[in-house]
Amino acid sequence: MIRRSNKPVFWSLFGAGGMVSALIGPMLVFVTGIAVPLGFLLPHDALRYERMLALAHNPAGKLALAVVISLFLFHGCHRFYHCLHDFGIHVTAGMKAACHGFAAAGTALAVYLLLVIGF
């Protein structure tokens, strides 16, 4: 009997994250990291406090923020330990747990913050 891998759980998260980041990732990075800070194509205040707070108050906005942060982390962390393996580093169960734990912690923190911010 071959042991079933638990990859389906993490691969689903990896895949979902990969898909979201492929669909909007480049634009998101461009908007938040380049266009708005530089005022290039987009105004400086497009990400101003009130607007972002409104986004974080809005349930749909909350969901979107949580999903992006969480899935990006799960996607990245899953790939990260594959990378370690590719570099010939033996990936132990502990290291895998640490990777997934890191993503889970990030997700928990995001959810906590979104709750703290309130509705």
């Binding site: 908007v31 990291g33 708005v36 406090y49 990260f80 590719d86 913050l113 911010i117």
Partner: protein, 135 residues
């Protein structure tokens, strides 16, 4: 001459395998994109944290984003995420069963193109959404 009993076999070590072929380098580049995606998620998480601390804190975060180092980092990240997106759609057909339309198999190029098209449309929407909120 006796037959050798225990055969000596040579297996090439894997050390530095990714340097053997450009195909592998591109693969490693794709995999490396994960570091940037994680980092970017952390940047967003940090923004969320600052948001929860109030306006001054949040503005501090915005200011940090505008530093040259941050811009440079995001520039590279954007390239990496873009490369990730390109490879993601390029291999998308490999993750799908054959799709038959009218008895004909949908060509891989069509699947790749639809993925890319979806990304373009959604990215445009996102841009417009952000743009529409200007004061």
């Amino acid at each position: 001459m006796p037959a050798p009993n225990l055969l000596n076999r040579y297996t090439r070590p894997m050390e530095g395998w990714w340097r053997r072929n450009p195909f592998y380098l591109w693969y490693m580049l794709r995999e490396a994109s994960c570091v940037f995606i994680i980092a970017y998620a952390l940047v967003l998480l940090c923004g969320l944290y600052r948001l929860s601390q109030g306006e001054a804190a949040f503005n501090g975060w915005l200011a940090a984003l505008a530093t040259p180092r941050s811009i440079a980092f995001h520039g590279i990240t954007a390239m990496m995420v873009l490369y990730h997106a390109w490879t993601w759609f390029k291999v998308m057909p490999k993750t799908l069963p054959f799709i038959h339309i009218g008895g004909k198999r949908m060509p891989d190029a069509a699947i790749v193109t639809s993925g890319l098209a979806a990304a373009v449309v959604l990215s445009a929407l996102l841009f417009v959404l952000v743009w529409s909120g200007r004061s």
